[in-house]
């Protein structure tokens, strides 16, 4: 009895295991074959939701014309981290789409390969965009769109574009006194500051982040934070803070700045092309002009960020990925498709010319970013954001600029290895 049951169980168990096995081994060659065809003819692209949707039709077309499959996968969160982790494990994509300031980190983790473009291909792009994706003298990505901050103003409340920050504050104060607005300026800071949004004012007051080396790259050894220029800059910014004019406030955060502007509580908003959709939805009559600088100061230079395509160093299909990025992303068709998915000024000059006429906002944003500074892509930039932002928030709240910014400079220098 016992033997019989054990036997029956064993036989059945083995049969099931075998069927599992059989199923797998039957599937396996098929899967192998298709995956072989797929690893051969398959191009996997990772992008965020919006861009993935725009890329899909283009990818399908590229695939159909060339007898390969193109799979566009949307990675909605932490794309950079996920990409680095996946590529280290060998399960990453062939091509990834992201901001240019990722380059430093992606290169130090060996996650992306350089792209070789011909001189005439390079010259079709905006010069700043090409400079942004160049790291250590190598082109690491193919740019497709640019973005920078500008001053967006409600023309019903403020018909004239202010020439200086002082003009802006005066106009804002007048609106506040007339109870037409409750805030002078919507420039997001929050309790922890926002280095990206304060940067135009910082440069206008004479501050800098990194000096430039002989070859034009940023030099991490020449740190501007904590230097006398930065202290002077923050002394000017402090005058706009909560204890001064009240134009810069920690209560204006990344979450509420655009909503405050579209709610007509402030006439001036410092933001990027992403704010335009909200302004249109709220039926705000707006105009776009460069972020004004301090009277008698330098030009206010916003950061210029560039979205670009990268070739994964550990992709399964690098030859096809190189082909796609170097020879197809460089065509105006794709730039237009991506523009239609999310309107940001295309990096390809031909595409920008094409949309300029129908979308005047783009030209204005480009104008505002003309004197902008490329957002540094060096790994040392990662050490800037947090201490710089927190120092900014403290100074806006009334802390002593000299003491605060010197301490922030020390912290940053300590983190740069």
């Amino acid at each position: 009895m016992r033997i019989r049951t054990a036997g029956v169980v064993a036989v059945l168990g083995l049969a099931l295991a075998a069927s599992g096995c059989g199923g797998d081994s039957n599937d396996e060659p098929a899967a192998k074959e298709s995956s072989k065809a797929a690893t051969g003819g398959k191009l996997v692209i990772w992008a965020d939701d919006k861009r993935a949707a725009a890329l899909k039709p283009f990818g399908e077309k590229f695939g159909k014309e060339n007898g390969v499959t193109v799979e566009v996968q949307a990675v909605s969160k932490d794309l950079q981290t996920n990409f680095v982790t996946a590529s280290q494990q060998g399960s990453g994509p062939d091509v990834v789409v992201g901001a240019h300031d990722w380059i430093g980190n992606l290169v130090q983790n060996g996650a992306i390969d350089p792209v070789q473009l011909a001189a005439e291909q390079k010259s079709a792009f905006n010069e700043t965009a090409v400079k942004a994706v160049t790291f250590n003298g190598q082109l690491y990505g193919v740019p497709y769109a640019m973005e920078n901050l500008a001053l967006i103003r409600n023309t019903e409340l403020a018909p004239e574009a202010p020439k200086t920050i002082e003009d802006l504050v005066a106009a804002g104060k007048k609106l506040k006194a007339e109870k037409k607005a409750s805030e002078i300026l919507c420039l997001q800071s929050g309790q922890n500051g926002d280095a990206y949004h304060i940067y135009p004012l910082y440069t206008s007051a004479g501050g800098y982040l990194f000096g430039t080396a002989a070859n034009g790259d940023y030099d991490p050894k020449d740190l501007g934070v904590g230097k006398p220029e930065s202290i002077a800059a923050f002394q000017k910014i402090a005058k706009l803070g909560e204890k001064g004019e009240g134009a810069l406030k920690r209560s204006i955060t990344g979450e509420n700045s655009i909503a405050t502007f579209t709610g007509k509580k402030c006439a001036f908003l410092v933001s990027g092309p992403w704010a335009i959709a909200d302004a249109k939805k709220a039926n705000i009559k707006y105009d776009i002009s460069p972020v004004p600088g301090f009277a008698g100061g330098k030009e206010a230079q916003p950061f210029v960020g560039v979205q670009s395509f990268y070739v994964a160093a550990k992709g399964q299909n690098k030859a096809l990925a190189q082909e796609f990025v170097a020879n197809h992303v460089t065509t105006p068709d794709l730039a237009m498709a991506l523009y239609n998915a999310e309107p940001r000024p295309p990096a390809l000059t031909a595409a920008l010319d094409q949309v300029k006429g129908s979308d005047p906002d783009l030209a204005k944003f480009q104008e505002a970013g003309k004197n902008g500074q490329v957002l540094p892509a060096i790994p040392a930039m990662a050490a800037i954001w947090d201490p710089f932002g927190k120092a900014e928030a403290a100074i806006i709240g009334g802390a002593d600029p000299a003491k605060t910014i010197t301490a922030a400079g020390k912290t940053i220098a300590g983190q740069i290895k």
């Binding site: 599992g20 797998d24 390969v68 120092a391």
Partner: protein
């Protein structure tokens, strides 16, 4: 985690055979061995063991592919062990224990061991892969176009079969329009009559060669990217599938000196196995490093680096205050409401109960963000509603108060629920008896209800304390650890050890998993000690009351 009754163990104890168990253990064992096998029991066993086998097969292929033989051996041994265990009638207790034990190993012990082992490495950004990976990345990152060289239209072709034949590059010189064939030997011009060239310069047909389309070419992706056709100035390499350029690798690894040499500047970077980087004589480090064992350095850093150890103590004190405050206040409020609703004179208790559960039913993640906005100085509901001008998150104590208020709102429904349950388990006769004896309601509460309540609730309070001790979301979503002192951006007034660690490890300055693992081991030690002490005290308390 627990050996659930639906686990494989039940197969040995067929349903409806319960009474057998009521005999003495010895007789029950023999009885079970002789018990007839029911169809259901057999089926359950076969299906579950089949599943085990299926999972083993499914997991084996990736392991074989990655050549992880140790993992494969563990998998095979576990599977064989499971089959042996459930196919033999012996080892009854183990049959019940093993599923839980396996889950414990997989989901608790392995992650803890992995964290502990990571703490001894420099794993993080710039030190993720192996040394070979770093060398490959440095070499391929240094390939540059030869100055003044041209780009060639490229056609990838093979001699013979497209899938296996030797690969060649067919390139057209854009200036002379001559077509050449290139392989690892070098470039040779082809007879103009034997090739067809499209207007752009791309070769569309060539005698003796198979032209590959993109699909065919991409199956040989690795061969194409690795293909280097030597030329006088450097080498022809592919840029995609339709262009080739003349480039040369400027940096190369030299195994002799274990260093990277730059052929243009002559600079060398020697491998430093202690830090996992290539370091030049002048101290310059190449960005691409690799993972190495750093011994106790991460632990030493935590203890000796003033930026980390300095704020550690003050953060620790606030961390205890926060955990005690969140647990204590929510308990007091929850218990108070539970007592009020427990009173027999209370009407409409069900309605109140539904209302009180609402905060508990909302996702805390979203609620924390809503609360953060409600505390905004200028636009927040709280200041506007009460006509205040408090800079909630700008001052140390108001920020701490705000965080505790949010915790109170989020946490009291839970305490209300558990207290209500515990109260209902206390017989009303006890309090009635005290009132007959002439005790006031407060006296009877203090002498009877409270001690009985605490016996039931103490373990939950300790668990709640341990949870709040590491309540990352409560801080990160509301204050992000702020406000920060003007001169120190690393440790804020409301930072818990866990948010503080998170900033150190994954903060804006890049991932440092090794250091984070070391700090989390410290936190684990603290929480474990606190929990052990409180549990042992609870046990003593229970002995007093029971």
């Amino acid at each position: 985690m627990s050996t659930s009754s639906s686990g494989p163990g039940t197969a040995t104890q067929p349903p409806g055979r319960g009474p057998v168990r009521s005999g003495s253990p010895r007789t029950s064992r023999t009885a079970r061995n002789h018990a007839p096998i029911t169809l259901t029991g057999l089926l359950v066993k076969v299906v579950l063991l089949g599943l085990v086998a299926g999972i083993a097969v499914w997991a084996a292929f990736p392991l074989i592919e990655a050549e992880l033989w140790v993992g494969l051996a563990v998998l095979l041994a576990t599977t064989a062990g499971l089959f042996y265990l459930y196919l033999t009638p012996r080892h009854i207790p183990v049959k019940y224990l093993i599923p839980g034990t396996l889950f414990l190993v997989a989901f608790q012990i392995i992650p803890v061991l992995y964290t502990a082992s990571t703490a001894f490495t420099n794993f993080g950004d710039g030190h993720r892969g192996s040394k070979d990976d770093a060398i490959v990345a440095i070499q391929s990152g240094s390939v540059t176009q030869v100055p003044g060289s041209v780009q060639y239209p490229l056609t990838v072709a093979t001699k013979g079969d497209p899938a296996t034949g030797a690969l060649v590059f067919l390139v057209t010189d854009p200036q002379t329009n001559t077509v050449s064939v290139g392989d690892t030997e070098g470039l040779r011009p082809l007879d103009a009559g034997s090739v067809t060239v499209a207007p752009g310069g791309k070769v569309t047909a060539a005698d003796g060669y198979q032209i590959l389309n993109f699909g065919e070419a991409s199956t040989r992706s690795k061969d194409i990217t690795d293909m280097v056709v030597p030329t006088s100035g450097g080498a022809l390499r592919s840029s995609g599938l339709s262009r080739a350029y003349e480039g040369k690798a400027v940096r190369a690894y030299d195994a002799g000196c274990d260093c990277i040499r730059d052929s243009e500047t002559g600079k060398t970077w020697t491998a430093d196995g202690k830090v996992g980087s290539f370091v030049a004589a002048d101290g310059e480090t190449l960005a691409q490093g690799w993972q190495v064992n750093v011994g106790l350095r991460n632990f030493a850093d935590v203890l000796t680096d003033p930026a980390i150890s300095g704020p550690f103590f003050s953060t620790l004190i606030w961390n205890f205050a926060f955990a005690l405050g969140s647990t204590g206040f929510t308990f007091l409020l929850g218990m108070g409401i539970a007592l009020a609703l427990h009173s027999p004179r209370m009407r409409g208790t069900n309605f109140y109960r539904v209302l009180l559960i609402l905060p508990y039913a909302m996702p805390s993640f979203a609620m924390l963000l809503v609360w953060r906005d409600m505390f905004n100085t200028d636009f927040g509901l709280i200041n506007n509603l009460f006509g205040l001008g408090v800079d909630w998150f700008g001052e140390t104590w108001s920020a701490r108060l705000a965080v505790l208020l949010v915790q109170l709102w989020l946490g009291y429904p839970y305490m209300f629920l558990v207290t209500t349950g515990a109260l209902q388990a206390i017989p009303r006769e006890l309090t009635e008896a005290t009132s007959v004896d002439g005790a006031s309601p407060f006296q009877s509460f203090r002498a009877v209800t409270m001690p009985l309540l605490l016996v039931a609730i103490s373990p939950l309070l300790i668990a709640s304390f341990a949870y709040n001790f590491n309540n990352f979301n409560a801080i990160q979503f509301v204050t992000e650890g702020g406000p920060f002192p003007a001169d120190n951006p690393t440790a804020g007034a409301t930072d818990l050890l866990i948010t503080y660690t998170y900033r150190l490890a994954f903060g804006a300055q890049g991932a440092e998993y090794g250091l984070a693992a070391a700090v989390s081991i410290f936190i684990f030690a603290i929480v474990a000690t606190v929990s052990a002490i409180s549990f042992s005290r609870t046990r003593k308390q229970e002995e007093v009351y029971s």
